[in-house]
């Protein structure tokens, strides 16, 4: 089974079950729903009416189930209802720890019969560019390199007995190159959340287009450096088990968007169950 519980550090509640959506919502759930919606309201992902619809008919997410059986005796009722439905076992209270874990695993596996294609489509995006002010961030870094390089060049020029004022020329040339590079880099960057994979396009000197299947995603981070925080930017990092896994990161996202993207990718990754991702 895929490592659902570890992944669900974001509020649960976007998951539904194709089959179970026909069942009436259980009575003890509405509190959860309001919580979920409150937690999710900050995200501008799939539009709210749909979200509401889905949260009302959803089955408990893995996090809930897992926590419910292993840690919180409070929701044992819910769990026993669930597990009896599925496997007619003895009540949770009489199970050994191992049995409860196994039951939770079964429940998770059974609850995962997939979002229907329409719901998956809601998680996808069109081709998107980065936030324009990521150019500022790159500009700052490029400037640092340009200054350092200029100093080095000027030093070498001085040593060769040439007029150090050539350094100004070097500075201008490097600076223009840097600006062009930053702008091109921004223009070349495209990402898209597809139904079955994350698509990335980037690179000026070497232009690369990658597909990262959700099944292969191990975990998803958002990361913000000092400069990024000042500029209100965030980076999404997606990890796979591949030898080039660290390659997959999307810089220059607005923090809200980064979180939204993280949520989407996470949900899709959980949805795309596929063994141990190796």
């Amino acid at each position: 089974m895929s490592d659902g519980p570890e992944k669900s550090d974001v509020p649960p509640g976007r998951r539904t079950d194709e089959e179970d959506s026909s069942k009436p919502a259980r009575g003890d759930e509405p509190e959860h729903h309001t919580d979920d919606r409150a937690a999710n309201s900050g995200l501008d992902s799939p539009d709210t009416t749909d979200q509401q619809e889905r949260t009302e008919t959803r089955v408990p997410s893995e996090k809930e189930l897992f926590d419910g059986v292993t840690e919180q005796p409070v929701s044992e009722q819910e769990q026993s209802a669930e597990s009896q439905q599925h496997q007619e076992q003895k009540p949770v209270t009489e199970m050994s720890f191992d049995e409860r874990v196994a039951a939770a695993g079964d429940a998770i596996r059974k609850s995962k019969r997939g979002l229907d294609p329409e719901q998956i489509l809601e998680y996808t995006t069109d081709r998107r560019s980065l936030a324009p002010h990521v150019q500022l961030e790159w500009g700052v870094w490029t400037s640092v390199y340009v200054v350092v390089l200029t100093l080095v060049f000027t030093f070498i020029l001085g040593n060769l007995g040439l007029d150090p004022r050539f350094g100004t020329l070097v500075l201008i040339v490097l600076f223009i190159t840097g600006v062009v590079w930053v702008i091109l880099r921004y223009r070349k960057w495209v990402y898209q959340v597809r139904a079955d994979a994350l698509y990335l396009e980037r690179g000026v000197l070497t232009h690369r287009r990658s597909l990262v299947p959700y099944v292969r995603i191990q975990h998803v981070d958002t990361r913000r450096g000092v400069l990024e925080r000042w500029l209100g930017l965030s980076t999404l990092v997606v990890y796979t088990a591949g030898s080039r896994g660290a390659d997959v990161s999307i810089p220059g996202l607005e923090p809200d968007e980064a979180r939204d993207l993280q949520q989407r990718v996470k949900e899709l990754a959980i949805e795309a169950e596929g063994g141990d991702a190796l």
Binding site: D196, L205, H207, R209, P213, R216, G245
Partner: protein, 505 residues
């Protein structure tokens, strides 16, 4: 269960050398010993004695405190003398089980058992040491547990011998296994360093010294060749590859014996390597890559599943293991060769420019323009580079090939794909070329893992990117539904093409 008690004396001896080394070192370099030895013999002996005692005590405690248990789902290890560590390794996550025995361990009858998972870093667990029979028992037991179905176990299941290295092949292995990267380094290093510097110092004997550099280089080459040959022979002496149910097993080694398992379900990619000597003789070797070994663990990390065999035989074995059929490579467009001609020309020009620069600075290399003579080598080099490139895909695999000095053929089943990327550098842009990189989780070191189709038409690269991804999705789905699309280990569908209705596209 505990480690074998015989490992205590072995471990003590193993560590004693270190201790004695430290003591001898400290005795010789201890202060106050200006005229000869620092301490008298008596105190040296006392030190050694105390050191030995401490080592013996520690090793005894370590071995006594090292316990391992087999639970239904996990392999548990409780270890540590003062700070205890308890580790549980789920059987299904174990990638490889290796048994290693050097000649001394064989005499005492103990063995080292290593368990690898995909967790990276070091081996997940190293049992040093258990008895020979226990090592074998653990290996069997873990492969049973991994399948999770002990009832189905058939102790008399046939050990299919897939491959056995005979004396002739061993000899060829010795001759062909040389590290040519080192060779090149030696040649360049010695001939460049040797000649101009030496020539400057002793003017009259210039001619002789100019010869000396290359001569030393050639000598070093031969020496390296012999050493790496002997190494390879010792390493792969008595190599056998067996198939035991859903597992590959190999044994090898003369002084240091290894017995390892590779579960077929954990195979990531296959890589067939032919260096130019072996290729000339029609031989190749094959590496089975799993996610079990961390990159950068040295040459030991990549286990040759077949150290050397006739090329046809190797491909036949690849078919047995991975079900890849007849591979008909497609070449990249001819214009790719123009790129290499351009690239190598630039390199030669750069080298010449550097030589000219040296001449300008020092006035030593009046003949710097001779560097341009290397231009003669450009067309054949470009041709050889081009001719060894190729890519191929069928219903189940992507196969790529590249390299002249060592030609690498990488076979990646779609269900092992991690990410797919096509890339285009500005140099490739001019020629409408691109590169396809199919990344896998195999940790075959710097060269391993990824299937790279270099300099194919950019449109092909993009199309292939989508195709590989689509087929990956299909195969992942099929595997999840329990329809095992892989023909892994099944001789009967070794064509690799026939039985894949779920992969219809």
């Amino acid at each position: 269960m505990n480690l074998d008690p015989r490992s205590i004396p072995y471990r003590v001896v193993e560590n004693t050398f270190v201790i004695i080394g430290i003591i001898v070192f400290s005795v010789f370099f201890s202060p106050g010993g200006g005229e000869g030895g620092g301490m008298d013999i008596q105190s040296t002996a006392t030190f050694i004695f105390l050191g030995l005692g401490a080592v013996a005590l520690w090793q005894t405690a370590y071995v006594k405190r090292y316990e391992y248990h087999i639970t239904p789902d996990t392999f548990d290890i409780h270890s540590g003398v003062f700070s205890r560590r308890e580790r549980e390794i789920p059987f299904e996550r174990i990638q490889n089980v290796d048994i290693a025995q050097n000649i001394f361990q064989r005499v005492i009858g103990i063995a080292e058992v290593r368990l690898e998972t995909a967790g990276g870093g070091d081996s997940e667990a190293t049992l040093r040491y258990v008895s020979e029979s226990e090592a074998t028992r653990l290996q069997e037991l873990i492969s049973d547990k991994k399948r999770g179905d002990t009832s189905k176990r058939d102790p008399g299941a046939p050990h299919d011998i897939l491959f056995e290295l005979d004396q002739r092949e061993l000899a060829i292995l010795g001759v062909t296994s040389a590290n040519f990267r080192l060779f090149a380094l030696f040649v360049v290093g010695l001939s460049v360093l040797g000649s101009p510097v030496a020539a400057q110092q002793v003017e009259p004997r210039v001619a002789l010294l100019l010869l000396l550099g290359p001569l030393v280089a050639i000598g070093a080459l031969v020496l390296l060749w012999i050493i790496s040959g002997i190494q390879a022979v010792l390493r792969y002496y008595g190599f056998r590859l067996l198939r035991h149910e859903e597992e590959l097993r190999y044994e090898r080694g003369l002084l240091q014996q290894y017995r390892g398992t590779i579960p077929l379900s954990k195979v990531q990619t296959l890589m067939i390597r032919e260096n130019f000597i072996a290729r000339a003789a029609g031989y190749a070797n094959m590496v089975i890559e799993t996610a079990g070994y961390a990159p950068g663990q040295g040459s030991d990390s990549v286990e040759s599943a077949v150290p050397i065999a006739k090329r046809d035989r190797v491909f036949e074995l690849a078919t047995t293991i991975e079900g890849v059929g007849e591979v008909a490579f497609k070449s990249p467009p001819k214009r790719a060769m123009r790129r290499y001609i351009g690239r190598y020309t630039l390199i030669v020009l750069a080298v010449t420019a550097i030589l000219a620069g040296i001449h300008l600075e020092t006035g030593m290399l009046a003949d710097w323009y001779l560097g341009l003579a290397l231009l003669v080598l450009v067309p054949p080099a470009a041709y050889l580079k081009y001719v060894n490139l190729g890519y191929y895909y069928d219903e189940k695999h992507v196969v790529t090939q590249s390299g002249f000095w060592t030609r690498r053929t990488t076979i990646v089943p779609y269900y092992r794909v991690q990410t797919v990327t096509d890339s285009q550098t500005i140099f490739q842009y001019r020629h409408n070329l691109g590169t396809l990189v199919v990344d896998t989780a195999s940790s075959g070191g710097f060269w391993g893992g990824d299937a790279i189709a270099l300099d194919i038409h950019i449109d092909d690269a993009r199309e292939l990117r989508e195709l590989v991804h689509d087929r990956f999705q299909e195969s992942a789905k099929a595997r999840l539904e329990g329809v095992e699309p892989e023909s892994i280990g099944h001789q009967e569908d070794s064509t690799g093409l026939g039985d894949s209705p779920q992969l219809s596209d």
